[in-house]
Amino acid sequence: MSELSGAGIGAMIDPEIFKQVQDEIDEDVKVREEIRGLLKSLDKQERSIQSVLSRVHAVPTAAVTALLAGAMPFFDQQREVLTELDRVASKYPYYKYNGIWTREIQTASYGIVLAGWLGAFASEGEEHKEGRLMTISEVGEKLGVRVNVKELDVFHLTLEEYLHSLITMIEELTRLAVNSVTLGDYQRPMLISRFVKDLHAGFQLLNLKNDSLRRRSDSIKYNVKKIEDVVYDLALRKLVNSNDSTVSEVPNA
């Protein structure tokens, strides 16, 4: 056996290659830690944004503008963190690490689309108006990140992440439809109904595979139904002008 140990590992394996592999593993651990550190502060900004925006369920429609103004500083801070994340993440193959941040960037996108729907990010001089859908490029602009990149291997918001954030918004708007009625706003549920149905029609165009997006998009119809129930309750009691109702426009789900 003595000649065995004498031969050493180097005899048939280049030790250099294993050193390289080890270096790469160590590098990988370091990158993940760095990204996780950034995600922690991103998460904090997102929480702040969510906590401001979710007050929309409890304030009258007239107060929404002030509410949105309160969220703006957090959006700015969020953009700063995302810029830093972009800088770090773009150094590495995008899809190698995107699993780490996909949830956070979905949440960030959701914050933008919800705020946008509530009337934020309107151009100068435009009056406050609810019901706008932020496109993926608008979301990217507000987040300060590239979107739906096709070729360059850099950090960006993917189409799937954007779609996820739309579904989250639909869920939130469903809740808002109910709470608006409680607040005495009978017009907003009509607006929500129209909007969610349009989105639902859009999602039905997609050929989704059996993934999380598919499961979540399948659940949109339950939200459509919940909102319809609200519209029905209002219409039955003649609390809204039936001309505003959109029930007959789009096929019932």
Partner: protein, 346 residues
């Protein structure tokens, strides 16, 4: 609105958003129960979602193409390994090159794999290289296992990452086939069949060479990750184990464990029998792998499982040797297990 007869997947048309709704409804049976005679959906977001659909369809198609190719690469790689297991080399590394018969067989599989890899290149450019890594990596690992095993038999060394990456890049198909055949060219001259096979292969390679050259310049090769390389090598130790155990069974006892006097006299490893050399190498590989700190990523977990399997592999060969030492003396001298007709029972 266009008639709803078009069932063609919405892949080629661009900016044709008006037609989108119809097609989607006709191609999505799962929604028909909901809306059996639904009119095409209209709405402000339809054009946007139609564009999204095209994009997602493209992604899913690409993904499936890659999965399928990866599976085919795995299958062909396994066949290379099976072919190699039919070898009964008397020395390690092989002092003779592979027989032309074997070379031809391996070349067939190899050219198939290279063809598949090359066909995938357009789908794996830039961003998509990492996007579909999970889909392509099983095939790459299996291929490294095959290439690495062959490399080991021929050279007695573990294949380097650079060389493995050269094989998996998909851009070097012609060179790889040339290299494979070049290794056996001396033997080929004696065997007509081998020559004939070669020339047929060469002409077919020539015709496609020109168009390939043009495309190659634009395409970047598949990048082999160190992860896939390591995982492929782990699997290779399983093949080394099988090879080692078979060698033990088919090597006459007197040659299997040379007496200590002959070993010390020459003082060289070459005196060792093939199974002994194989076991040494397995132990070396084991040492190298055990030295790695794998980390706790998905790769780390994967590698840890494979590490355990590899340790068992080494142990199997060790036990086989143990069995020979303990019970081998009961065998008649020169007796070998009759696994192959080439055995010489007395």
């Amino acid at each position: 609105m266009s008639p709803s007869g078009t069932k063609r997947p919405f892949s080629s048309g661009e900016g044709n958003s008006r037609n989108g709704p119809n097609r989607s409804y006709s191609s999505q049976p799962r929604q028909q129960q909901q809306q059996p005679t639904a009119p095409p959906p209209t709405g402000p977001f339809i054009p946007m979602f139609t564009a999204f659909r095209n994009e997602l369809d493209e992604h899913h198609d690409r993904r499936e193409r890659i999965i399928k190719a990866s599976r085919d690469i795995t299958a062909a790689s396994k066949k290379i390994i099976f072919t190699l297991h039919r070898l009964r080399p008397s020395s390690l590394p092989l002092s003779d090159t592979l027989s032309p018969h074997m070379t031809n067989e391996i070349c067939d599989y190899e050219s198939k794999i290279q063809h598949l890899l090359f066909s995938l290149l357009p789908d794996l450019q830039q961003l998509n290289g990492s996007r579909y890594w999970k889909q392509i990596s099983p095939g790459l690992q299996e291929y490294i296992e095959a290439v690495g095993f062959r490399h080991y038999l021929l050279t007695g060394n573990v294949i380097t990452w650079e060389e493995a990456a050269w094989y998996t890049s998909g851009l070097n198909g012609d060179e790889i086939l040339k290299k494979l055949k070049g290794g056996s060219s001396e033997v080929d001259k004696d065997v007509e069949m081998g020559d004939a096979g070669d020339t047929v292969e060469d002409t077919s390679a020539d015709t496609s060479e020109k168009e390939k050259e043009g495309e190659k310049k634009k395409l970047e090769g598949i990048k082999l990750s160190k992860e896939d390389y390591v995982l492929g090598l782990f699997d290779m130790t399983g093949e080394m184990m099988r090879f080692g155990v078979t060698s033990i069974a088919t090597t006459p006892l007197s040659q299997l464990i040379p007496t200590s006097s002959t070993t010390t006299k020459s003082g060289k490893g070459s005196v060792k029998s093939t199974p002994q050399k194989c076991l040494d190498d397995l132990r070396n590989v084991r040492l190298a792998f055990e030295g790695l700190d794998l980390g706790r990523s998905a790769f780390g977990k994967d590698a840890e499982k494979k590490l355990e399997v590899m340790q068992q592999c080494v142990q199997k060969v060790e036990y086989a040797f143990y069995g020979i030492v303990v019970r081998g003396s009961e065998r008649p001298d020169g007796w070998v297990a009759e696994i192959e007709s080439s055995g010489n029972p007395e």
